[in-house]
């Protein structure tokens, strides 16, 4: 009880400076989200905290699988029965915005609700922007990071506290880690890349694996789509960046060919591979295994900037029928602001989410946590959003990566084929938005 009082006090203090908290008549809000796993009880605890500290707003939450929400939301909005607040993920959000399912959050609204958009990581907040307007507040965030095995690095003569940060360092480190079954190192005469005992880096063929290519392209100054929304991941910068990753397999022999996510995950857990780039959601698993590992930001294999892929969930306000209660919208903004405040975001990180704002990342709780290795660059995490037809871009992109990685096509050919497939589908998709 005491802690709750204290918390409420702190919150009022924090919110009091910028905003007048919702003071209208008592309203009840419906809140639809997809946190159905181990994160569900955390969300439920937060909501009951909110309900206790806000006697004139009652939030009733409903958790259901994300996919169900994507299928239901259009008909709920069209029939004027949309929930008051809905959580939408980064890969869907631009589509729902462009189709008019979500209503923009005006600068005046954000201001009067006390929401400080600048406190969030820039690219993370902009995930829910479209054509100059903001549509959501980030409540949860995941990212592609690089796990590294400290024991194996030591064995290979590398400093386990200095994970590679550049293309040259990565190549050197992965070569040092790679030994074939007869004990020959990568690059030595007679080295057999087909029979590796330990190796440098995990690359693999599914959509998670293709996020390494995504990061490399952004780092090199490329992008998935151009300004007009057409697929453009076959630019010279993109080809150059992806070629470096493919060379790790085909030229340098420091990654296994034809591998799968499961196989690489098992290999990293068994201490057979030094660097395992993947979703930060594996953190829990490696911690439970008591592995001696660290987490680093994706090394900069491109030349322009730091970048990695990230996924995020955003609190949004769906479009409502004309006579929608204005108080509900005010109360919903209040709820959104509260849920994304540093105190709540800190609680939320216990689910494995990354902090959504620098203020939370600085918390002492993370000082010795392995994940804090990426915190300095959380502002360089980019979600796949921004065009309404992300699905049409991502499926061909993932296939292009699989073809390049497996050597079935040259990098240039694979990316060009992917772009041409994506653009054909975009032509069709554009008609839906005329």
């Amino acid at each position: 009880m005491r802690t709750r009082h204290l918390l409420t006090l702190m919150l009022t203090a924090a919110a009091g400076t910028a905003s007048a908290a919702y003071s209208g008549p008592k309203v009840s809000l419906t809140f639809l989200h997809g946190f159905t796993g181990a994160d569900r009880p955390v969300m439920e605890r937060l909501i009951s905290q909110f309900n206790t500290s806000h006697p004139n707003i009652q939030v009733r939450a409903q958790a259901q699988p994300w996919g169900t929400t994507w299928q239901q939301l259009p008909s709920l909005v069209a029939s004027g029965r949309a929930p008051d607040v809905v959580v939408i993920n980064e890969d869907q959000i631009t589509n729902f915005i462009a189709r008019g399912a979500v209503s923009p959050l005006t600068a005046a609204e954000l201001k009067s609700a006390g929401i400080n958009t600048a406190s969030f990581y820039g690219p993370l907040f902009k995930t829910a922007d479209y054509e100059g307007k903001s549509y959501g507040l980030p409540v949860s965030s995941v990212a592609y990071v690089m796990f590294y095995n400290k024991d194996l690095m030591k064995k290979a003569g590398l400093d386990p506290n200095k994970p590679p940060r550049t293309r040259e360092e990565l190549l050197k480190a992965t070569q040092a880690c790679t030994v074939d079954k007869s004990g020959k190192k990568a690059g030595q005469a007679g080295f057999d890349a087909k029979n590796l005992d330990t190796w440098g880096i995990s690359l693999y063929n599914n959509w998670v694996g293709s996020r390494a290519a995504y990061a490399a392209i952004l780092q090199n100054g490329g992008a998935l789509t151009d300004k007009s929304g057409n697929a453009a991941f076959d630019s010279p910068q993109a080809v150059e960046a992806v070629q470096f990753l493919v060379d790790l397999v085909q030229k340098h022999g420091v990654a296994r060919p034809n591998s799968t996510e499961e196989a690489e995950l098992a290999a990293f857990s068994q201490g057979k591979v030094c660097f395992f780039p993947s979703g930060q959601w594996y953190l829990d698993r490696f911690e439970q295994q008591k592995m001696n590992f660290g987490v680093a930001f994706m090394p900069r294999v491109g030349t322009k900037q730091d970048a990695a892929w990230g996924g995020s969930s955003h609190l949004t306000l769906p479009k409502q029928r004309a006579n929608y209660d204005k108080n509900k919208r005010l109360a919903a903004l209040e709820f959104m602001n509260w849920l994304t405040q540093p105190a709540q975001n800190l609680t939320w990180t216990s689910t494995g989410s990354l902090p959504t704002q620098a203020g939370v990342a600085k918390n002492a709780k993370f000082a010795s946590a392995p994940i804090s290795g990426v915190f300095a660059k959380l502002g360089n995490i980019y979600a796949t959003s921004g065009v309404p037809w992300m699905g049409q871009v991502l499926t061909p992109f993932d296939n292009a990566w699989a073809n390049a990685y497996s050597g079935k096509k040259s990098v240039k050919q694979a990316l060009a084929d992917g772009v041409s497939e994506a653009n054909k589908q975009i032509v069709q998709a554009r008609k839906s938005f005329q």
Binding site: R99, T260, A263, T395, K408, S432
Partner: protein, 310 residues
């Protein structure tokens, strides 16, 4: 045209009687049928003729544009839809004979009073109760390029090179087809076991008196008397195979290069990844039409056989 000759039961009508009553019995079903079959199918067809989005202000009528896409070379719809049809037909053509003959063979073995008969029947039936995701993950692991049990056996026991089952076109079908047979064989086997139980032993006794060989008994007694159940098994298995979805989705995600992507998976991608609901509806109708023609032909050919040999 109705495929079976046994549908016209004698029409009994109460003299001077109540013609409303039978319809009242039919009414509850008719309501549900109209509500959950006729209406959605009609609505789906309506959607396929418009550029449809629930959220859009206008839903213009486009006629058969989305059907035309399927026959216009160069469109992704034409390319991927027919590619997925080719995959689905390939899967059906390979898996149906396997599923029919293997289940018949198992049923013949397990019909005989061998030791542990109940145990083996259970062993073959039980995989069928797993969900497709469990079954899919299991076979994906078994055939993993690097850590799979199959490749471990190839390298450790036989000294062969591992095969990249999950990333080579063609090979990727192996785990899907073997997994499907393992997963669904028990149901067909149980049908065959039941049918075998209905064959009178007197036929076999008579055949034995005439000195018939085991093959002759199978060829001239068992196989013809199983014809109706074989028709049933072939048709249901073929329809189930046409609806391939979960197995390839979980095991290969339709890859590599869409080489194992099933038609239903592509329709789902078009609808819910690409948000092209009208296009997906048009594909669903085209797919339904192909299945309808296929089933009709199958009934024509096999029903004639079943009748002829009865």
């Amino acid at each position: 045209m109705t495929p079976s000759t046994h549908t016209s039961a004698p029409h009994v009508r109460k003299r001077g009687g109540n013609t409303v009553e039978p319809y009242l019995y039919l009414l509850p079903f008719a309501i549900f049928f109209a509500l959950f079959v006729i209406y959605p199918v009609g609505y789906g067809f309506f959607v396929s003729l418009h550029r449809w989005d629930l959220l859009a202000d206008t839903r213009p009528f486009v006629g058969f544009e989305y059907y035309k896409n399927l026959f216009t070379p160069g469109t992704p719809q034409a390319e991927f839809f027919w590619n997925s049809m080719k995959n689905t037909v390939f899967f059906t053509a390979v898996s149906v004979p396997l599923l029919v003959f293997t289940s018949l063979g198992l049923a013949l073995l397990l019909y005989r009073p061998i030791i542990g008969r109940a145990f083996f029947r259970a062993v073959f039936f039980l995989p069928g109760i797993l969900t497709v995701s469990v079954m899919g993950i299991l076979w994906r692991w078994m055939f993993d390029n690097q850590i799979g049990m199959v490749n471990a056996a190839r390298t450790e026991i036989f000294g062969l090179q591992p095969l990249a089952f999950l990333s080579v076109e063609g090979l990727a079908w192996v785990p899907i087809i073997i997994g499907t047979v393992w997963w669904t064989i028990g149901f067909n086997m149980t049908l065959y076991l039941a049918a075998l139980g209905n064959i009178s032993q007197s036929y076999y006794e008579a055949a034995e008196l005439d000195g018939a060989s085991a093959w002759a008994k199978f060829r001239f007694i068992t196989w013809p008397l199983l014809a109706p159940i074989t028709l049933f098994v072939v048709v249901t298995t073929a329809l189930a195979s046409f609806q391939l979805f979960g197995q390839s989705l979980v095991i290969t995600a339709g890859g590599p290069n869409r080489s194992t992507q099933s038609t239903i998976q592509y329709i789902t991608e078009e609808a819910f990844t690409n948000n092209q609901f009208s296009s997906a509806s048009a594909m669903a109708f085209m797919f339904g039409l192909v299945m309808l023609i296929f089933t009709f032909l199958q009934f024509r050919i096999m029903a004639r056989d079943a009748r002829g040999e009865n």
